[in-house]
C-alpha cells in the first residue's frame, strides 16, 4: 500500500489546523465583541460548514483559480494554486474554520462576564485579559474546537477534490484515495483507507475527551 495519502492527509490537516486554530479563536473573539452585524458575520463564517463541500470547492476555484483576480496575480510569478498541496490546505482551512470558530465562540460566551469586567476594573489590559483570563478559562472549549477542526480537516473530501484534485503522491488524501479506489473497483484498498480514517478520528476524539476531562479538574469551576 502506497502511504503517500496518509502523509499528505496528515500534513494538509496539520497545516490547516494551525491556521484554523488562530483564525478561529481570533474570529470568535471578534464576533463575541461585535455590537452590530453580529448575526451576519457569524453566518458568513459558518457558511462553509452548512454549504455542500462541492459548492465550497467551486467558489475556491472561482476566487482563487487561474482565471480569477488572485490567480492572475499569482501567475505573474508562475504560481498557481489549483491542484497543489497548498490548495488542499486552503480547502481544509475553509471547511474546518467554522468548527473552530463556533466552539471557541461558545466557550467565550460561557465565561462569566463579571470575571472579565473584574479584570478590566482592576486595570488589566485587554491583551493580558485575552491571554491570561479568557484563553485559560475557555480551554476545554478551545481544545474541543481544535480536535473537531483537525478531524474535520482529516476527512475533508468535496472541496479538496474540486480545488486540489486527486493527484496521487501530490494532492491525493486518504478520503480522495478511497474515492479513487472505489472507482477502480479496488474495495480492499478503499476498506484499508477507511479503517485508517476511522482509527485516526476515533483516536483524536478520545484524546479530546480525555484532555477535557483532565483540564476540568484544576479549579476551573466558576464559583
Amino acid at each position: 500500500m502506497e502511504l503517500s495519502p496518509l502523509v499528505i492527509t496528515l500534513e494538509t490537516a496539520g497545516a490547516a489546523t494551525v491556521v484554523t486554530f488562530f483564525a478561529g479563536i481570533g474570529l470568535a473573539w471578534m464576533v463575541v465583541r461585535m455590537n452590530h452585524f453580529k448575526g451576519l458575520a457569524d453566518a458568513i463564517i459558518t457558511l462553509p460548514m452548512v454549504l455542500p463541500p462541492t459548492v465550497v470547492g467551486f467558489f475556491l476555484l472561482l476566487f482563487l483559480g487561474k482565471r480569477s483576480m488572485v490567480g492572475r496575480f499569482l501567475l505573474q510569478w508562475d504560481v498557481s494554486l489549483v491542484f497543489t498541496w497548498q490548495a488542499a490546505v486552503i480547502a481544509a482551512i475553509v471547511v474546518s474554520l467554522p468548527l473552530m470558530y463556533r466552539t471557541a465562540r461558545g466557550a467565550f460566551e460561557q465565561l462569566e462576564p463579571n470575571v472579565i469586567y473584574a479584570a478590566q476594573t482592576l486595570g488589566v489590559s485587554e491583551w493580558r485579559i485575552f491571554w491570561q483570563v479568557l484563553l485559560p478559562n475557555a480551554r476545554s472549549g478551545i481544545l474541543a474546537g481544535l480536535v473537531l477542526s483537525f478531524t474535520r480537516a482529516l476527512g475533508e473530501f468535496g472541496a479538496t477534490i474540486m480545488f486540489a484534485g486527486n493527484i496521487p503522491g501530490k494532492t491525493q488524501t486518504m478520503s480522495t484515495a478511497i474515492y479513487a479506489a472505489v472507482q477502480a473497483n479496488d474495495y480492499a484498498l478503499a476498506f484499508d483507507w477507511a479503517m485508517v480514517i476511522v482509527f485516526f478520528s476515533l483516536f483524536f476524539v478520545v484524546l479530546m475527551n480525555w484532555w477535557i476531562a483532565r483540564s476540568g479538574k484544576e479549579g476551573c469551576l466558576w464559583n
Binding site: 463579571n114 473584574a118 476594573t121 482592576l122 486595570g123 483570563v133 479549579g219 476551573c220 469551576l221
Partner: protein
C-alpha cells in the same frame, strides 16, 4: 476623595436617573431588585455607558457626554466588588492579587504580600477560588482590589447569595475593611439592615429614579416617599387623603388619624408594625379592631387586625409573645381590643 455622578440611561422598563455626590464616606443606594442600582455602579466603573451626564472622581473626568469623554474601565481606578466576587478561576489567591497589582516586580511582590497579610490569606495563598469558602473568596476579592490602584470602592449586593449566619460573618469583615479603607465607598443593596449598619448616607432608588440623599438615621426615622418607607421595612401603608395639616384619612384602613404634620400633597400614610400598641379602651388615634389572623414568628407574634366591623385592609402589628398572651386572655373574656397608632410614629408619605 470625592465622587460626583449625574447620569441618565434609558433601560428597558424605565430611565435610570442618578444624581449624587459622595465624599470620604460610605454611601448606600437602597432599592428593590431590578431598580437600576447595579446599573449605576456599572456606569461608574465603565462597564456600561450612560446616555448622558457626567462622572467625576477626585477631579478626574471619567465620563462626560458633552465633552465626549468615556474612559476605559482600566483607566478609571474604580474597584468593583462583584456579587459573586468574580475571582479568576484559573489563578490561585496569590496569582489573583498579583494579576491586579501594578508596578515593578518588587512592588508587585510587596503589594501581594501586604494584602495577603492584611486579609489573613497567607495560608490560602496557593489555593484556587473553587476551594475557598464564600468569606475567603470575598477577602481575596478585596485584597485584589486594594492591590490595584483603586480610588473608589463599589460594592454590588455583597451578601445577597449567602445564608444568614455566613452573611453576618462577612458583614463584620466588610465593616472592618470599610473602616480601615478610609476612602469613598458606594454600597448597593436591597437589605435595609445592611445599609443601616454599614453606610453613613443613604439614597433610595425606585424604578431608576434616585430620591434625595439622606443621613441614614433621618431616612429610617422619617422616610418621605412610599418607596423609601417600604424599603426601610415599613409593613403598613395605606392610601391617604389629607384632611387638614394635622389630620389624615387612611383610606385603606378606613380610619382618620392625627399626625404631627400632614403636608397637603401627601399620598400615603405608613406606620411600622412594632410601634403599634393594643389598648383596653378608646382614646386618641385608638380604634376598636377585629383580630383577623395571628402568626407566630421566630421571636415575636404578628397579629393582623382591621377596624372592627369594616372591610378595611389589615394592619400588621408586631409584639412580644408574652404581651400577646396577656391580650389573648383579655380577648377570651369577650372584651374588645383597641389599637393605638402613636401620632408621632405616623409617617406621612409622598408618592
Amino acid at each position: 476623595m470625592e465622587l460626583m455622578v449625574r447620569i441618565k440611561k434609558k433601560l428597558r422598563n424605565f430611565t435610570l436617573d442618578a444624581d449624587f455626590a459622595v465624599k470620604d464616606e460610605v454611601f448606600a443606594l437602597l432599592g428593590a431588585s431590578g431598580c437600576g442600582k447595579s446599573m449605576t455602579l456599572k456606569c461608574i466603573a465603565g462597564i456600561e455607558t450612560p446616555d448622558s451626564g457626567y462622572i467625576v472622581l477626585n477631579g478626574r473626568v471619567l465620563f462626560d457626554s458633552e465633552k465626549k469623554i468615556n474612559l476605559a474601565p482600566q483607566k478609571r481606578r474604580v474597584g468593583y466588588l462583584f456579587q459573586n466576587y468574580a475571582l479568576f478561576p484559573n489563578m490561585t489567591v496569590r496569582e489573583n492579587i498579583r494579576f491586579a497589582a501594578s508596578g515593578t516586580d518588587a512592588e508587585k511582590k510587596q503589594k501581594v504580600q501586604a494584602n495577603l497579610e492584611r486579609f489573613s490569606l497567607l495560608d490560602l495563598a496557593d489555593a484556587y477560588p473553587a476551594e475557598l469558602s464564600g468569606g475567603q473568596q470575598q477577602r481575596t476579592a478585596f485584597a485584589r482590589i486594594l492591590a490595584s490602584d483603586a480610588e473608589l470602592l463599589l460594592l454590588d449586593e455583597p451578601f445577597s447569595a449567602l445564608d444568614s449566619y455566613l452573611k453576618w460573618q462577612l458583614e463584620l469583615e466588610l465593616g472592618k475593611v470599610l473602616q480601615s479603607y478610609e476612602k469613598t465607598a458606594l454600597l448597593v443593596s436591597h437589605d435595609r439592615g445592611e445599609v443601616y449598619r454599614l453606610a453613613d448616607k443613604v439614597a433610595v432608588i425606585n424604578q431608576g429614579k434616585m430620591e434625595k440623599v439622606h443621613e441614614k438615621k433621618a431616612l429610617f426615622k422619617q422616610p418621605e416617599s412610599l418607596a423609601a418607607a417600604l424599603l426601610t421595612g415599613c409593613k403598613n401603608v395605606s392610601v391617604a387623603s389629607p384632611l387638614d395639616n394635622q389630620h389624615v384619612r387612611a383610606d385603606d384602613w378606613q380610619v382618620d388619624l392625627l399626625a404631627t404634620n400632614v403636608p397637603a400633597k401627601s399620598k400615603y400614610v405608613g406606620i411600622r408594625a412594632h410601634f403599634l400598641k393594643f389598648r383596653p379602651g378608646p382614646g386618641e388615634n385608638t380604634i376598636p379592631v377585629d383580630i383577623v389572623q395571628v402568626i407566630e414568628d421566630t421571636f415575636s407574634m404578628l397579629v393582623m387586625v382591621r377596624k372592627a366591623g369594616s372591610d378595611g385592609k389589615t394592619i400588621r402589628c408586631e409584639l412580644s409573645k408574652q404581651e400577646w398572651q396577656e391580650w389573648q386572655q383579655w380577648q377570651e373574656t369577650g372584651k374588645p381590643i383597641y389599637l393605638h397608632l402613636p401620632p408621632e410614629k405616623i409617617m406621612v408619605l409622598a408618592d
